[in-house]
Symmetry: C2
Subunit: 332 residues, 2 copies
C-alpha cells in the first residue's frame, strides 16, 4: 500500500492524502473519503520514505558503557519511558567502556541515523569533547558533567563528601578508599575528591597508599581490599565508590573475622539491590538513575522540538541511605 494507491482509491491527489495525514488543508468532503480508504486498507505510511524526505528518523541513539549493570539499566528505563510517550524509538549502542568505541558510535549514529544522541560517557577525552561540538545532531551527556555541554548528572562529589562525613562522625580514623579510575570523572575523580575533602575538613590527610583503584565488580573490590588490608590491618573504615566494590570488600573483611559495622565501617554507592540485602546491610547513596534517564530524554526532545536554546546543565540530588554497615551500634 502506497500513498498513490490510497489517493487513487479516494479519488484525490497524493498531496491531499499527505495533507490529511499531516493536518494540512483538506476539505471536509475529501477528508471523509480519504479517511474511509485509509481505515479500510489499514494503510500506514512508509517510515523510510518519510525519513528520506523529512530527514527525521524519530530515533534517539543511546550510547552506554555496558547494559548489564543495574545503574545503567535504571537509566535506560527512565529514557525509554519518556521516548515511548513521545513516539520516539531508542537505538542502543554499547561502548564496552571503550572511549574509542564511544567516539565511533557517536560518528556512526550521527550519520543521519538518529535525530539526537544521549551519551553515557565514562571517560571524557578531549577528542570526545571536540566531537560532541561538531556533531550535526544534538547530544545530551548523561551521568557526567561537562561544562558548556547539555548534561544531566549526579552530585557525586557531595554524595561522597556526606557519606565520608557520616563515617567520620562515628569516630573512625583509619580510612581506606577503593575507587575506580580517575578517567571516569564522575565515579572516579569526583567521588574520590569528595572523600579527600571530607577527610581534609576533619584535619586528616589521605595517603596515596591507602587508596586503591579497581573495576566495577565485586571481585575487584575483594582483591583491592585484600591488598589494602595487608598494608593496613588496623583499618576501621572503608569507603568505596560503588556498592559492588563495597560488597567485595565486605566479603574479604568478613573472611578475616572483622565485624562490619563494629570493627570496620563500610560504605558503597548506588543503592543497588545488593546494598539492602547483604549482611550487614550496606550504607550507600541513592542516586536518581531513572530520573537522570528521563530528564536526559526530555532534554533531548526539547532540543529537537524547540531547537537549540541555552545550554542546560542539570545536577540531580541524592539521598544518604544509612544501613548497618556504618552503624557502630550495630550488633552491640
Amino acid at each position: 500500500m502506497t500513498i498513490s494507491e490510497i489517493a487513487k482509491l479516494a479519488g484525490v491527489s497524493n498531496a491531499a492524502v499527505s495533507r490529511y495525514l499531516n493536518n494540512g488543508y483538506v476539505s471536509e468532503e475529501k477528508r471523509r473519503a480519504i479517511k474511509k480508504v485509509v481505515e479500510e486498507t489499514g494503510y500506514r505510511p512508509s517510515l523510510q520514505a518519510q525519513t528520506l524526505r523529512t530527514k527525521r528518523t524519530k530515533m534517539i541513539g543511546v550510547i552506554v558503557p555496558q547494559i548489564d549493570s543495574s545503574s545503567v539499566g535504571r537509566m535506560v528505563a527512565g529514557i525509554t519511558s519518556v521516548l515511548e510517550e513521545n513516539g520516539y524509538r531508542l537505538l542502543l549502542a554499547v561502548s564496552e567502556q571503550n572511549s574509542q568505541k564511544e567516539l565511533e558510535y557517536l560518528i556512526l549514529l550521527n550519520e543521519k541515523q538518529v535525530d539526537g544522541v544521549i551519551l553515557f560517557a565514562t571517560v571524557l577525552s578531549v577528542a570526545l569533547k571536540k566531537k560532541i561540538k561538531q556533531l550535526s545532531v544534538p547530544v545530551v551527556l548523561t551521568g557526567q558533567h561537562l561544562s558548556g555541554c547539555n548534561c544531566v548528572y549526579h552530585d557525586d562529589y557531595h554524595a561522597m563528601y556526606d557519606v565520608t562525613k557520616l563515617v567520620l562522625s562515628k569516630g573512625c580514623r583509619n580510612f581506606c578508599y577503593i575507587g575506580v579510575t580517575n578517567c571516569d570523572r564522575a565515579v572516579g575523580a569526583e567521588r574520590f575528591r569528595g572523600f579527600q575533602d571530607a577527610l581534609a575538613a576533619a584535619g586528616m590527610l589521605v595517603s596515596e597508599e591507602s587508596a586503591e583503584t579497581g573495576k566495577f565488580t565485586v571481585d575487584s573490590g575483594y582483591e583491592k581490599m585484600k591488598k589494602l588490608y595487608k598494608k593496613y590491618p588496623n583499618v576501621d573504615a572503608v569507603i568505596c565508590a560503588t556498592d559492588e566494590i563495597a560488597v567485595g570488600a565486605m566479603q574479604y573483611l568478613k573472611q578475616q573475622g572483622k565485624k562490619i559495622g563494629m570493627d570496620v565501617l563500610l560504605t558503597g554507592q548506588g543503592d543497588s539491590v545488593l546494598a539492602a540485602n547483604v549482611s550487614p546491610s550496606l550504607t550507600t547513596i541513592h542516586y536518581y538513575y531513572e530520573e537522570c534517564g528521563s530528564k536526559s530524554a526530555q532534554m533531548i526532545l526539547e532540543l529537537l522540538e524547540k531547537g537549540t536554546i541555552a545550554v542546560q546543565e542539570i545536577k540531580l540530588g541524592y539521598e544518604l541511605v544509612e544501613h548497618e554497615s556504618s552503624n557502630n551500634e550495630f550488633g552491640r
Copy 2:
C-alpha cells in the same frame, strides 16, 4: 554529499559509483578515480535512501519486558555483541511485562522499521502466537519455548527439578514454593512443574496451599514468605523461582530467627550477583543468559542472510550452583 556529486567529480555515472560501493563491475581505472574522490570527500551513502531502495534497515528490534533486570541485561549484552560484529543496530522496546504492549511493539517494529525481531516474551498469549506467524519479518523468541517457532530458551524444567532433588537429598520434607504467574511459561509454569515432578518422584504431594505466586522482586519474596510461614511454621525447605524472591524469603526467615541452611534450606534461580553475596550465600541455577542472547542474535541473522530454513528450537543447559543456603552442614 550525494552519490551524484561524487559521480560528477569522478567523471562517471551514478551507477558506477554505486557499483564501486557494492562490488559490481567497475574497471580498474574508474575504480581508482572513484576511490580517490570518495576518500577525499569522506562520502558516506545515505542510510535512509539505501533503506528505501533495498528494504533493508540493518536494524533488529529487541522487545524486552524490562531493561533494569540483571538477566535481561545479560541477554541484551549477548545480543549487542553479535549484532555489532555484523554491522547491525539494535532498536530497543520495553514492554513493561504487558502483553498488550508486546503485541503493539511487534506490529510497530514490523512496519518495515526493522529487518527482524528478537522477542523476549513473558506471557505467550494466543494472540501473540498468531501474530508472530503473520509477521513479514523473521522473529526469534528468546527465553521461552514455543513449538513451531524459532526460539532459544533455557531448560527451566530440569533446572528446577535438579535443584529440588538436591534439597530433597538433604532430607527436607516440608516444602514451600514461591514462584511467579503461570502465564509466564518459562519462569512460572515450567519451573513450578519441575518442582512438582521432583517431589512427586520422591513420593510427595504438593498441596496448593504451600505454593505462592509473587512478582520478580525481593519485596514480593518477603511478603509471600511471611504468608507461607504463618501457615507452615515448621517449613524446612523453600524453593523459589528467582534469586530476588529467594533473597526476600531469606530476609523474612532470618527475622524469624531461622538459620538458613540449617533449619530451613533455601534456593533461588538465576545466579545473580545477589546469590553469591547474601549471607548465607544462595544455592541457585546458573543460566547462560549471554549465550541465550548471542544465540538468538545469530539465529535472526542467519534467517536474514540465508532465508527461512527449518525452524530451530535451541534449548540451552544450566549449571547447579550449590552454596551455603542448601548445605545443612553449614554452620555446624
